[in-house]
Amino acid sequence: MMPLWVTVPLIVVAGVLVTGLLAYVIDRSNHA
């Protein structure tokens, strides 16, 4: 079991990256 201070930032960063990727894809699709 990973310590809390590792688990929380890891998942938060993953969530932010997924959101960023979606924002990028939406922006690209708008300029296609």
Binding site: V8, T19, S29, N30
Partner: protein
């Protein structure tokens, strides 16, 4: 009126017609739009899907509150005799999936509306995707409504109806030929059928509820709540920053930037809202009792609904687009912008005050 509004069962019974009946109308309009090629009707369909998705959030949360209302308060709280807990759990599970599908439909409908203002032609996948999602949502919501009806209407529950019909057949036979059936019943009240079904099934194993399993997962892992809180804060930051930039521009700040430019940022705000919807729903299924008897949570949901309507204005009206570089926005767009900032601040305030004015934590 206050009595009516504080009765959460009333609210749920009112709201549950929106994702079912209103959604059927929206779906019909959307299909007609596809056949006739009417752009206005298509946009109406998208907008209705989006607004109904927002109302679905309130419908889901009010359902949990309706259950709490039905059980009553205190340690001796219990469901009425004809209501089985398992029937509620089955309805809740169906509602969870239906609400998720509806939210995804709402997101892509909003995206299509947003894009229809910026591109000449929507991407080829946009309309088919929304249509498939809407059909899936319709099926899931119809099933949810069907199961929801079973909670208080014993006369439509298949197991109860079967027992009731069997009783009526015996009663009919005994009436036709008196004395032919010695222990014939004198009547067939529905409660007898409910009792018989309950007796026949004995104590059923607890229904494996997805919603409850999800809730247990949220509260059963120490990393879940802080992770969700942090993500909720990230979502809030994305959402509120976008709200401020777009609406402050309409109110007269950074006039050098045309509205068309800040409009491009809206999906970032919507993605922020999506993060908060997912994390918020997980908080809710984690500990529903923190929210379903919390007046501040009610207000939060009311403001989320108003925010949905406010967003629809920007998707449909063209007023704001008159704010080109260096130009002011027309008065109606400014009123919409000011109300957007106020509404989102109210959502933030209610969310933050859940434990302080309300009873969360």
């Amino acid at each position: 009126m206050i009595d009516f509004l504080s009765n959460t069962s009333h609210i749920h019974l009112l709201l549950n017609h929106v994702p079912t009946t209103a959604f059927t109308v929206a779906l019909a309009l959307f299909v007609i739009a596809l056949f006739t090629g009417s752009e206005t009707l298509k946009k109406t369909g998208f907008a209705m899907f989006f607004v109904i998705a927002a109302v679905s959030i309130a419908t889901y949360t009010s359902g949990s509150a309706a259950e709490a209302w039905l059980r009553g308060a205190g340690t001796a709280s219990a469901l009425p005799a004809h209501v089985l807990s398992d029937v509620i759990r089955e309805h809740e599970d169906a509602a969870l999936w239906a609400t998720v599908l509806m939210a995804v439909t709402g997101f892509f409908s909003w995206l299509a509306l947003w894009q229809s203002k910026t591109v000449r032609k929507l991407p080829s996948w946009s309309v088919p995707l929304v249509l498939v999602l809407a059909l899936l949502s319709f099926a899931a919501m119809s099933r949810t409504a069907y199961l929801g009806g079973h909670i208080n209407h014993v006369e439509i529950r298949p197991d109860v109806v079967a027992v009731h019909k069997a009783c009526e057949a015996i009663l009919d036979e005994a009436t036709k030929r008196p004395g032919s059936i010695p222990d014939a019943p004198e009547g067939c009240p529905w409660q007898s059928a409910v009792d018989e079904v309950a007796k026949a099934t004995g104590t059923p194993p607890p229904h494996t509820s997805t919603a409850r399993a999800l809730g247990d997962f949220v509260i059963g892992h120490t990393w879940m709540w802080p992770t969700l809180e942090t993500l909720h804060f990230v979502g809030l930051s994305l959402l509120f920053t976008t709200v401020l930039i777009v609406n402050l521009r309409l109110l007269g700040m950074i006039k050098v930037v045309p509205y068309a430019a800040v409009y491009q940022l809206l999906p970032i705000g919507m993605l922020g809202f999506a993060i908060n919807l997912v994390t918020g729903m997980l908080f809710f299924v984690g500990i529903p009792s923190q929210y379903n008897a919390n007046p501040v949570f009610y207000w939060k949901i009311v403001f989320v609904l108003l925010a949905g309507l406010n967003t629809t204005y920007f998707m449909l009206a063209d007023d704001a687009w008159r704010a080109r570089a260096g130009q002011s926005a027309p008065p109606r767009a400014r009123v919409a912008a000011a109300s957007a900032i106020f509404i989102w601040l109210a959502v933030l305030y209610c969310g933050h005050m859940l434990p302080f004015i309300g009873n969360a934590f």
